[in-house]
């Protein structure tokens, strides 16, 4: 009898530990770190062209993927949360690759500079931009 109780208590303790571990995991699972991910390499023009030609196909290929891009800066702004946002030129003057950076790039960037960076592609908004976030500069 005593033995059964002992096993029972151990079992309860075990279940509680697993549950606690799960909660800790769920609340602490880190967000993606793009800097450490293997990326698809493209130019800003190529990425836009892929979405313009066939959005569905481009979504399959690039959505949620880490992408390493080379692009020319069209505009540098900050969003309403104070994060740095850089728009990169595409072949179409009214459409950009819009990338929100994870933190303010250390380099002193300006319009017209060619930049090599990495980010996650979240999709395409026709006639406006291809959206990327979690941007980091690549050396």
């Amino acid at each position: 009898m005593k033995k059964t109780l002992k096993y029972f208590l151990i079992l309860i303790l075990f279940v509680a530990l697993v549950a606690a571990g799960f909660v800790v995991y769920v609340y602490n699972k880190p967000h993606r770190n793009v800097a450490k991910e293997k990326a698809v390499t493209l130019t800003a023009e190529q990425l836009y062209q892929a979405f313009k030609d066939n959005e569905q196909l481009a979504n399959q290929k690039y959505l949620d993927k880490a992408i390493e891009l080379t692009g020319r800066i069209a505009q540098i702004t900050t969003n309403q949360q104070g994060q740095t946002v850089i728009d990169f030129n595409t072949a179409d003057s009214t459409v950009t690759i819009n990338c929100t950076f994870k933190s303010k790039p250390a380099l002193n960037l300006k319009m017209g500079d060619s930049v090599h960076f990495k980010g996650i592609c979240t999709g395409y908004i026709p006639d406006m931009n291809v959206v990327m976030n979690n941007g980091v500069l690549v050396k």
Binding site: G123, Y124, M128, V131
Partner: protein, 174 residues
Amino acid sequence: MTKLYLLLIGCLLSVAGLQAQKSYVTRNGQISFVALNDDDVSAINNEVASRITSNGNITFSLLIKSFFFQYAEMQDHFNTDYLQSNTYPRSDFKGTITNIQTVNFSKNGIYPVTVQGNLTLHGVTKLITVPGTIEVLGNKIIAKAKFTLVLSDFNIHAERVAKKVAIQFNCTYQ
């Protein structure tokens, strides 16, 4: 001859009218939401593309994968289990500001507006009407609105987590 003059004047006026119609744009507007029954279930999207014209058209588009949650695990469930963002990556709204004549785009101030239009989310399109404000501030305008969406209206089944969410729209245009 008089007719010809009238026609000419008419043409000139319509050209002037076209030029007078101004378009305000943003690529980085903000939309956030929070579940009505649980404050922890909330996310923010700072990559909303939107356009408002001075004759009352308003459109916005956002990408589901651009919603940022504090908890990464929640963000995964939101995308994979509830919104199926690989199948439905984007949400679009196209509508009009029904009382646009009350907004004076050349005078600073906060103007109450009503917006009506079609919202497409999770592959479902629904007509919505929401109250909001447009603030004119020099050559910028700021549009704000708060409203509630019932998730099942858009065929989103997240009952275990939330049935209704409060949406906050806050976009600064230039």
